[in-house]
């Protein structure tokens, strides 16, 4: 359960104050599949960083699974990111010197999981995203779509409360992009809570709910334009 209440984010640039987010109220229930849409500069990346506990707003409250996020210490925020949030980035963000398996293991290392269990869970996650045959491959031996699936395996390894994907198909060709989105859809059917930030309508089509941002404010929240009634 995610509750954003009256979120405001301002940047000071010299004597100019730039309001990136304003008056954001957003509630996302468990098992939802939400797309956050908007043109570049609409504040959707900032919103995602706030949802991912990577950034703090200037004002407002954020409750994730009942925890008041903005009252946490740096260390407990790290633990919350580790345990409750799975990130998927546009540029995959895999460590090039590590195999697919070791990349997927990373969050478990910080969670203090023992080596044998790490290995088993990483292999299981990789099989789940259809990369059971590619576990010992290094990122440069994988295609873009495969890299993104490794990143998704890494995101789900700790069974997070929320999967946050930032333009997950932005660096992929159409067919790889479709495969990645199909994977998200499958995860959603299994009960994962997914928030995808995108500016592509095709990507947003996979979501059950679309939140549209413009100039830092929520313009539209609810059903997709093609299917306005389908909210969860």
């Amino acid at each position: 359960m995610i509750q954003l209440n009256d979120i405001q984010k301002k940047y000071e640039m010299g004597d100019q104050i730039l309001t990136v987010l304003d008056n954001i109220h957003l509630e996302i229930a468990n098992h939802e599949f939400v797309a956050i849409m908007g043109p570049s500069g609409s504040g959707k990346s900032t919103l995602m960083n706030i949802l991912g506990c990577l950034d703090q707003p200037s004002y407002g409250t954020y409750r994730l699974e009942g925890m008041d996020i903005f009252k946490q210490t740096q260390t407990s925020l790290a633990a919350i990111r580790n345990q409750h949030i799975g990130f998927v980035f546009q540029q995959f963000q895999l460590l090039p010197k590590l195999t697919a398996e070791m990349n997927v293991e990373l969050p478990l290392i910080y969670a203090g999981v023992k080596k044998q269990e790490r290995k088993e869970r990483a292999q299981e996650a990789l099989r789940k995203v259809g990369l059971g045959e590619r576990m010992k491959h290094f990122p440069n031996q994988l295609s873009g779509g495969q890299k993104q699936r490794v990143a998704i395996a890494r995101a789900i390894i700790n069974d997070p409360s929320l999967i946050l994907a930032d333009e997950p198909t932005g660096a992929l060709d159409t067919s790889s992009g479709e495969q990645v989105m199909a994977l998200f859809e499958a995860l959603h059917r299994e009960g994962a809570t997914i928030v995808v930030v995108t500016h592509e309508a095709e990507v947003a089509d996979y979501a059950r709910r679309v939140v549209t941002l413009r100039d830092g404010e929520i313009m539209n929240d609810g059903g997709r334009e093609t299917c306005p009634s389908s909210t969860v």
């Binding site: 960083n49 790290a78 010197k97 990373l106 910080y110 969670a111 203090g112 700790n158």
Partner: protein, 400 residues
């Protein structure tokens, strides 16, 4: 996150930049290696100098004459009347603190063999001489007190003498040489052990002490060494000996004693200061090496900004990031330190072999070396590690 995981991560990261890691280590390797080598050479050199000066630690001291200014100015040889008479020697031997007196006469003179003549050092001695000077027989034998008692005209010569006179002779034993128109038969060849760096390599010929007056018409001795009854008595024996000699001879100058303990302290001070000076230069090398490590770690932090951002988004705490970089720099300096110790030990060993002094590398020095390398790693890793830990994950992941 366990230490083992951190260590593996650090090793993997260092391994992926092999050349850079080795070059970075080089500063630490040279620094630690230099410190280890310098300290070992200092200790070894001190041990050797001490053993040379202390006369093997048998509580002996040498008596010498220190002429007055007038004697120096007079134009005559200031040492011409300073020899030790038989009465002197008997009187010194009766001092309670004195165990025995070892006296010998020596003179640099022409020695003849067949048609050749050359300068050599003639030493007239009895067995006591061997307590002060370690001689190794290479062929034949040395002279003993029986030879002296019987006044045998025989001689032992050193290898240098053999080379000078008997180049064309297969076996010098049995050959006859002339000193001051007296013939001596060679009975042995020797070399000096523990030749001190202050001893001149001279062609030497040793003859029985009792033969000396036949050559020079006097039984006065030139060199006087006194052995005290114990180390504690050296001071007393020295004082009484010089008092006796100064009263007995009433010369303008004074007889004095070479105090071994003072010399030993002096040597130890000199070598300590030298070791400290060179050691501190080596220490500066170590600090420069540490700065090199810091520099590379800072570069590494900048290069891996994205990685740090990602690790933070995956749940790495500041502590995790600090320890990742600290362990990395510590691994770097510790491995460098170990290689440096190996290299330093090897170098010190080689020097010890060549110089012929004992190899003195102690466990404490090695442990200190390892500990110091680790500390260098921590100190110079701290700044880069902190810089990495403070990175904002959002900014860091956006970094190109």
């Amino acid at each position: 996150m366990s230490f083992i995981d951190s260590l593996k991560m650090a090793l993997r990261s260092l391994w992926s930049h092999k050349m850079r890691s080795i070059l970075t280590m080089l500063g630490i390797i040279i620094g630690v290696g230099a410190v280890i080598t310098v300290v070992a050479i200092g200790r070894g050199g001190e041990a050797m100098l001490t053993s040379q000066f202390a006369g093997g630690g048998n509580d002996t001291f040498e008596v010498y004459y220190n002429p007055s200014d007038e004697e120096w100015m007079s134009g005559e040889d200031p040492y011409s009347k300073t020899q030790y008479t038989e009465e002197d020697i008997l009187a010194i031997e009766s001092i309670p603190a004195v165990d025995q007196v070892i006296a010998y006469a020596q003179n640099s003179t022409e020695v003849g063999y067949r048609e050749e003549e050359a300068m050599a050092q003639v030493v007239a001695l009895n067995e006591g001489y061997y307590e002060l000077h370690e001689l190794e027989v290479t062929s034949g034998r040395l002279l003993d007190d029986r030879d002296s008692d019987m006044g045998r005209r025989i001689a032992a010569v050193n290898e240098g003498f053999v080379e000078e006179f008997f180049e064309d002779v297969q076996n010098p034993i049995g050959e006859i040489v002339d000193i001051e128109n007296t013939s001596f038969q060679i009975v042995g060849v020797f070399t000096r052990e523990n030749q001190s760096i202050f001893d001149l390599e001279m062609d030497e010929i040793l003859i029985p002490q009792t033969v000396w007056p036949m050559l020079y018409g006097t039984d006065d001795m030139d060199m006087l060494n006194v052995q005290a009854t114990s180390a504690d008595d050296i001071q007393e024996a020295g004082d009484e000996t010089t008092q006796l000699l100064n009263e007995g001879h009433s010369l303008a100058g004074e007889y004095e004693v070479l105090n071994m303990e003072e010399i030993q302290e002096g040597i130890s001070q000199v070598t300590n200061i030298t070791t400290m000076i060179i050691g501190s230069v080596a220490g500066i090398a170590l600090i420069v090496g540490g700065i090199g490590v810091m520099n590379i770690m800072l570069v590494s932090v900048t290069e891996r900004t994205k990685e740090i951002g990602l690790r933070k988004s995956l749940g790495a705490t500041r502590g995790n990031i600090v320890s990742q970089f600290l362990i990395e720099s510590m691994t770097l300096t510790t491995i460098g330190g170990l290689i440096g110790i190996g290299l330093g030990a090897g170098l010190a060993n080689t020097v010890a072999l060549i110089a012929g002094w004992p190899l003195l590398i102690s466990l404490p020095v090695i442990l200190l070396g390892i500990g110091f390398s680790m500390v260098i790693g921590i100190i110079f890793g701290l700044l880069p590690a902190n810089k990495a830990a403070k990175l904002d994950p959002v900014e860091a992941m956006r970094y190109e």
